[in-house]
């Protein structure tokens, strides 16, 4: 366990794809913030759904978990839950450490 508390183990053969994956996540966070500011729950639901699919596939289970929470909260127009999850997401993206094996 590292200091951040966020460690992800990724299959070595996926290494080539990770930089693009991470950069897409950061852009995604921006898009999520914009959508939340505009109360665009449909867009939030769609983005959450997408996170759910991509996250675990690459080995980033927490991305999927946050994605599912955002998707469900967006259906209920629950801006507060989405806001707190976006903070968690931002923290995660800043601190996550990737171990290839």
């Amino acid at each position: 366990m590292t200091q951040s508390g966020y460690t992800v183990t990724v299959a070595k053969d996926l290494a080539d794809l990770i930089p693009s994956f991470m950069s897409n996540r950061r852009k995604e966070l921006e898009t999520l913030r914009t959508a939340l500011a505009a109360s665009d729950f449909e867009e939030l639901r769609r983005l959450g759904h997408r996170m759910k699919g991509a996250g675990s596939s690459y080995g980033f289970d927490l991305v999927s978990t946050i994605g599912k929470t955002i998707e469900d909260a967006a259906k209920a127009s629950d801006a507060a839950t989405i806001g707190s999850n976006l903070d968690t997401y931002e923290d995660y993206l800043a601190k996550v450490e990737i171990v290839y094996e």
């Binding site: 070595k12 053969d13 996926l14 080539d16 794809l17 693009s20 994956f21 897409n24 769609r46 759904h49 997408r50 759910k52 699919g53 991509a54 996250g55 675990s56 596939s57 690459y58 999927s64």
Partner: protein
């Protein structure tokens, strides 16, 4: 590049199986494509339904992995469009959904590999089926070529279906030109030569006659002793059947002439081909027992041609008037003479006979 990808490229396997991944999330499509490439497959991606459909048309992939939830055209709609288009209906599609579960890597790879094996098995079966078909066709062609000219054999094979009746047991009444040819003077040679030699001589003689027959697309019906029966206008209509028959006769006679010269020098006996041709209605049928069947023509023109052949001297073509009328422009008048009349069985009117002398090279 992963080891598996590198290995498959070195082995040239990467071009074997082509998969198109359609997903609106580039991370997902790249992820799926990456997995497939690691298994030695070729993978391309499309980011929405319209692009996916366009790429299926352009690239004709062996398999499509299709995301269900996409903005614009959904995976279901893309699937429906591909299945309703004849050009793309046969492309296998795997619908991928992130509705409840993240994509299980092993499971998806296993499914794709199964589909790939299925695809390869199907392709191999198709290849074998085609190979067998070509082989069968070749065997049929070879078998036919012993009776009819290779060109006719080819035509029969091409007419597949339409001519199921062509060689059926059902007899047909057809207009036919019958040509009989035999070898004058040969009997006296057989009396003074070895059997082995006689067979070789007959083979040489029949080779010339069948070559001449095939040259003009005749069908060979019978070979007995030293006589040969060929027909024209059967099994396919030949508008110029009479002309073909005369040209065949001429070619038989003139091409045999050098052989006759050689045989005369060797055995001291003059030989030569005599021909009888007659045309009229005959019956075309497979005749025989379940054990032995012969495809043959029966009727007056055949009998008459046989009688004409029997009386034709070497290097002469005897023909009935109806044949001569159609070929008169092929023979200079100084080489033709009328030879009286014969009465065909079952007919009251006798028919006139003409004899054409074939000029043979010295």
């Amino acid at each position: 590049m992963s080891e598996a990808v590198a290995r498959s490229r070195v082995m040239g396997l990467s071009s074997g199986f082509r998969v198109l991944v359609v997903d609106d999330d580039p991370d997902m499509s790249e992820f799926l494509a990456h997995m497939l490439r690691a298994e030695g497959m070729d993978a391309t991606t499309a980011t929405d339904g319209e692009e996916g459909i366009a790429k299926v048309h352009a690239e004709a992939p062996d398999l499509v992995l299709l995301d269900v939830m996409m903005p614009g055209l959904s995976g279901f709609e893309v699937c429906a469009r591909l299945k309703s288009d004849e050009a793309t209906a046969m492309v296998p599609i795997v619908l991928v959904t992130a509705l409840d579960e993240p994509v299980r890597r092993e499971e998806l790879v296993a499914r794709v590999k199964t589909l790939r094996r299925l695809h390869e098995t199907r392709r191999e079966l198709e290849r074998r089926r085609l190979a067998t078909e070509v082989e069968n066709r070749e065997a049929i062609r070879r078998a036919f070529s012993r009776y009819i000219s290779p060109r006719l054999a080819e035509r029969i094979l091409e007419d597949d279906g339409a001519d199921g009746e062509l060689f059926s047991r059902r007899a047909q009444r057809v207009e036919v030109v019958a040509l009989f040819a035999d070898l004058r003077g040969f009997t006296s040679i057989t009396e003074r030569t070895e059997v082995v030699e006689v067979v070789a001589m007959l083979n040489e003689y029949f080779s010339i006659l069948t070559d001449a027959a095939y040259h003009h697309d005749a069908t060979i019906f019978n070979m007995a002793g030293d006589s040969l029966l060929v027909g024209f206008n059967v099994p396919f209509p030949q508008e110029d059947a009479a002309k073909r028959s005369y040209l065949t006769a001429e070619e038989m006679v003139s091409r045999f002439a050098p052989v006759a010269t050689r045989w005369e020098q060797r055995y001291g006996v003059a030989t030569g081909v005599g021909v009888g041709i007659c045309m009229g209605e005959a019956i075309l049928a497979n005749v025989g027992s379940p054990h032995y069947t012969s495809y043959t023509i029966i009727g007056n023109p055949v009998n008459t041609a046989a009688r004409l052949m029997q009386t034709a001297p070497a290097n002469q073509v005897l023909m009935c008037r109806s044949v001569y009328d159609k070929i008169s422009d092929l023979v200079p008048s100084n080489r033709v003479e009328p030879r009286g009349e014969v009465t065909l069985r079952g007919k009251e009117e006798p028919i006139a006979i003409y004899a054409a002398r074939v000029v043979v090279p010295d």
